[in-house]
Symmetry: C2
Subunit: 350 residues, 2 copies
C-alpha cells in the first residue's frame, strides 16, 4: 500500500498494466493490486487498517455497518438465480459476515437503452421477492439510462446498512493459530452455473447457483459463540481467495483438508471438464468462519440446524506460518499451496 | 402507481414503451412514469408515501438518512468538473436537501476493460479530493470490470449516509400556499458545460459546471429557520422538474418570476443557440427551498453569507392550485406553464 499521506503521487508507474483488464475485477491477485494501489490509498481514511466486507461507524448509540457492491453478471438470468437475487443476497451477505444485522438496502440501476421493459420488470420483481423473503427492505433507489452499446443490458449496485451488536470483534485480521475454519456447505456451484449458462452447455444434472441470504444463519452462529474471529463470503475468487485474504491479514497459515470440503458431484465433474479449480470458483451462498477451537463444535451444531448450514463442516485449521500460506492436504496425502486467483478465471460472475 | 398489494402483476402493458428509452433516465416525465410503474411499487415499502431524495430510518436513538445515485456522465471530464466530483457532490447534496448531515459515502465502480489506468487514477483522486474538501469520507467500495464494449469507460455509484437532526420536517409534500421559493444561485451551467464539451463547441466565455457540495449551505439554512418545508437539488430535469415534483406532491401551484431567476449571460446565450430551456437544464450545485414566508428573509440573509448562496434569491411563491401547475411570469408580463421535462433533452448529464 502506498503512503496514505502522499496520495497525490500517481501510482500508475508501479502498476504492471497500463489499462484496466478483466482480471482486475476477478477477486484475485490483480484486483487486490488495483485496490491496494489505486482505491485503498485514495478512498479510505488512513485509520481503516484492513479491508473488511463492510465499514462500520458509530451513529448515536449504534455501531452501523455499510457495504456496497456492483453487479454485472452475464447472463442476467441463470439456473438457480438472476442478477436481482444476487444484488440483494450479495449485499446482505457482506453485512452478515461483518457481524451486522441487515436493516435495509438501496439499489441503483444503470439501464441500456433498448432493454425490454418486461425483462426489467421481472428482474426488479425478483429483487423485491428476494428482499421480502430476507426481511430486508429496499428503501431508496436511482435509475440511469445509457445509450445502446454503452452498457450490457442492466447493471445493479446495491448498498446495505446494518447494525452490529455482536459481543466479539469480527475482523479479517483476527484469526489466530489454533483456530479452526468452518464452511457452511458445498462450493463452486454459482460460478459453474453461470459459466454453463453462458456457454449454453447442458449436463445431465443441472447445476444451480447457490445464491442465498446468509444473515439468519450468521445470526445463529454469532449467538452460539462470542469467539468467532472472522467470516467471509467466498464470492469472486472463491474459497481460495477468501482464505488467502484472512491468512494474509491475520499473518497466519491455513491448512485445508480436501476430503472435508463439500462439493456436489456434478459441480466437481463440470469443473474437471472446464478445467476450473473449484477452490477458485465463485459462490453466492457460502461463507467461511474462523472460530476458536473450543467453540467450533457448538457453532457447527447450530449451523447444521439451519437449512443453509446442513452440510457445514470444519474444513481446516489455522497455524503459525511466516509465509501466510493457504495449504491443501489432498485426499491422497499430498500438500499443495492454494494461491489467490491470479488473472481472470471467470469474468462477470456476479 | 399500481396497487402495492398486487406487485406481481406485470405493469408493462400499462407502459407506453416496450423497451427502455434514453428519456427514461432524463429526470422528466418518462422517468417518473418508469419509477411509478416499475420501481416504486416493487422496491419501496408501502408506508413510504413520497419519493424524497433520501430514505430515513431510525437506528438506535438516531434518524439516519440513506441515498444512492449512479453516475454515467459523458464525457468523464468536462469544464468545471468530472464524474468523480459529481459522484461525491451529488450524493452529499441528496442527503443535504433531505435535512441530513452527511457522515460518509460508499463508492462502487464499474470499469470497462481497456480504461487507461491513469485516467482511472485521476478520477479516483478527484473523488478523494472532493470528499476531503467536503469533510465526508468514502469508507467502503467495490470494483467490477466488464469486457470492452459492455460499458462506456467508467460508471460510479455512490451511496451516502447521514443523520437528520433538524427540528422541522422536510418533505416534498410539505409546501403550503403562501410559502416562498428560494434558489441559491444561477441555473443551467452544468448541463450546458457538459453539452458543449460533448459537442466540442467552444464559446468566447467558457461555461463551467456548477458542481458543488451544498451541505454546509444547507446547514446554515436549517439553522436559520425551523420552517423550511422542503428542499430539492435541481439536477436531471432542471429547476422545472424539481418544482413540478414539489407542486405535485404538495398539491399546490407554484408561480415563478422569470426576472428573478439568476442565470449567467453565457449560459443563457448557449441555451438560446442550442435550443434549450434553461429551466430544464441540469444543475449540480443548485437547490430550491420552499420556506414559510415569515422566515424567508432570514434564510436568504444567511444563504448570502455563504459562498454557494451569494446569488440566492426568492424566485417564486406557492399558491393554491387544483391543477398543481408551475407557472412562469415572464419578463414581458406573460404567464406560461413550465412542465416537467418530457422525453430526453440531455442524456447522460450526470
Amino acid at each position: 500500500m502506498s503512503d496514505i499521506n502522499q496520495p497525490w503521487t500517481c501510482p500508475v508507474p508501479s502498476l504492471r498494466h497500463k489499462t484496466v483488464l478483466l482480471g482486475h475485477g476477478s477477486g484475485g491477485k490483480l484486483m487486490h493490486q488495483l485496490i491496494d494501489t489505486v482505491f485503498r490509498p485514495l478512498l479510505l481514511p488512513a485509520e481503516l487498517p484492513v479491508l473488511n466486507d463492510a465499514a462500520t461507524l458509530e451513529i448515536g448509540d449504534s455501531r452501523v455497518a455499510i457495504t456496497t457492491d456492483a453487479f454485472v453478471v452475464s447472463p442476467l438470468v441463470f439456473p438457480g438465480g438472476d442478477i436481482g437475487q444476487l444484488a440483494v443476497n450479495g449485499t446482505i451477505n457482506d453485512l452478515a459476515v461483518s457481524g451486522a444485522r441487515p436493516l435495509c438496502l438501496s439499489a441503483a440501476f444503470i439501464l441500456e437503452e433498448g432493454l425490454p421493459m418486461d425483462a426489467l420488470w421481472s428482474l426488479v420483481a425478483s429483487m423485491r421477492q428476494t428482499a421480502e423473503a430476507a426481511g430486508v427492505p429496499i428503501v431508496t433507489g436511482d435509475t440511469k439510462v445509457v445509450n445502446r452499446g454503452s452498457a450490457d443490458q442492466l447493471f445493479i449496485t446495491t448498498t446495505g446498512l446494518g447494525v452490529v451488536d455482536y459481543a466479539g470483534v469480527l475482523s479479517v485480521d483476527a484469526a489466530q493459530p489454533g483456530d479452526v475454519v468452518i464452511l457452511n456447505g458445498a462450493i463452486a456451484a454459482h460460478g459453474v452455473a453461470v459459466l454453463l449458462a453462458r456457454e449454453d452447455m447442458e449436463f445431465a444434472h443441472p447445476v444451480l447457483s447457490d445464491t442465498a441470504a446468509l444473515h439468519t444463519l450468521v445470526a445463529e452462529m454469532l449467538d452460539a459463540s462470542p469467539h468467532i474471529r472472522c467470516m467471509r463470503d467466498a464470492t469472486r475468487g472463491g474459497l481460495a481467495s477468501a482464505l488467502n485474504e484472512i491468512a494474509e491479514s491475520s499473518h497466519v497459515g491455513i491448512t485445508l483438508y480436501e476430503e472435508r470440503i463439500p462439493i456436489q458431484d456434478e459441480v466437481r465433474g463440470a469443473c474437471e471438464i472446464l478445467g476450473l479449480d473449484p477452490l477458485h470458483v465463485a459462490n453466492e451462498g457460502k461463507l467461511v468462519a474462523v472460530v476458536a477451537r473450543d467453540d467450533a463444535e457448538k457453532v457447527l451444531a447450530r449451523m447444521r440446524e439451519h437449512p443453509l448450514g446442513r452440510d457445514a463442516a470444519i474444513i481446516g485449521e489455522v497455524s503459525e506460518d511466516a509465509r501466510h500460506l493457504v495449504l491443501l492436504r489432498t485426499e491422497i496425502g499430498g500438500l499443495r499451496v492454494v494461491g489467490m486467483l491470479s488473472g481472470e478465471q471467470l469474468p462477470r460472475i456476479c
